[in-house]
Amino acid sequence: MRPAAVRGHLDALILAVLEDGPQHGYAIIEALQARSGGALDLPTGTVYPALRRLERAALLSGSWSSVGGRDRRTYTLTRAGRHALARQRAEWTEFTTVVDAVLRPAGGVS
């Protein structure tokens, strides 16, 4: 998938990955790649500033903690982050439904 197409949705994808619990930067990158079946091919270095952006907007909270004997910066979804994720999911569903309806070949519609 083209990085430019992903970029606009990166924030929502990160929020979705963190829904299951706190994770550090590299684990988030691995989760993004795993959940997309390896199709998300963006420079890993763009994920870290995105995490800072989400933290600045109070959608995530970040702090250094010890993971596997090493200090790592770990990110947790905040309440505001959960709300933002729910909102973006709803918007995405609506968007895809509308675009899908228009893109579908006209002949096949009942």
């Binding site: 420079p43 270095g45 200090d71």
Partner: protein, 234 residues
């Protein structure tokens, strides 16, 4: 992460290590609040080491693993702008916070000082010009505080450009410091000998004048730095 942890890392110690070279280059490309910058660079270094470790676990030779991790990360010119945006936003937030606190604090502080009677003017008659300037000073201070508060809130919005935010915060601070400083000088000049008498007879007044001047200098310094970052975050 402590410095000891980092230097203890065998990979970071190797001089020709691509990760160490990359981290240094990234650090040099970024400008802004030192603590946040160091934290961001340390996090990038950790991420690169994690990525290299994952490659090594997959059977890739250590040197090659580090090179691949750096390649996946994206070049410094490619990723630095997003990092810089966040540093610029951080600087804007800190500067806006200072303005939000300092301007109202100066207003309240001076008001309390006059009302409490700790600082007393020897001459009873205050010139009309001084009265008008004092009112103007209050209005300016409240206005600057309100604008700074709005800017502080907008640092939480992802859609706002950090570069524009930094320009706006820097300008607000500079205008605030220049106008409040200018009005103060005007008041003291119009007041004639009052200021001299006040400073000569009242240690509290000396402290208040010094404190206000230090605050204004601090605001000017931070505003200039913030505007400078707006340029760095193009």
């Amino acid at each position: 992460m402590t410095t000891a942890d980092r230097t203890a890392d065998p990979i970071a110690d190797r001089t020709a290590d691509p990760i160490a070279e990359y981290v240094v280059a990234l650090g040099r490309a970024l400008h802004g609040p030192r603590r946040t910058r160091r934290c961001m660079v340390a996090e990038a270094r950790d991420g690169l080491h994690d990525a290299a470790a994952a490659y090594r676990a997959g059977g890739v030779a250590p040197e090659q693993a580090a090179t691949l991790a750096v390649r996946d990360f994206g070049s410094v010119p490619e990723v630095a702008p997003s990092y810089q945006d966040e540093l610029t936003a951080r600087q804007s937030r800190l500067a806006a916070l200072l303005l939000v606190v300092v301007f109202p604090a100066m207003l309240v502080g001076w008001d309390l000082l006059w009302r409490s009677g700790i600082v007393r003017r020897e001459r009873t008659a205050t010139p009309e010009v001084v009265r008008v300037l004092a009112a103007l000073q209050d209005v300016m201070t409240v206005a600057i505080g309100a604008v700074a508060l709005a800017l502080l809130v907008s640092t939480f919005l992802r859609a706002v450009s950090p570069r524009r935010l930094a320009s706006a915060v820097g300008m607000t601070g500079a205008v605030g410091a220049a106008s409040c400083g200018g009005i103060s000088i005007g008041m003291n000049l119009a007041g004639g000998h009052t200021t001299v008498d006040l400073l000569a007879n009242n240690p509290a007044a000396v402290a208040a004048y010094t404190g206000s001047m230090v605050m204004l200098v601090l605001i000017v310094w931070l505003s200039v730095r913030t505007m400078h970052l707006a340029g760095a975050s193009a």
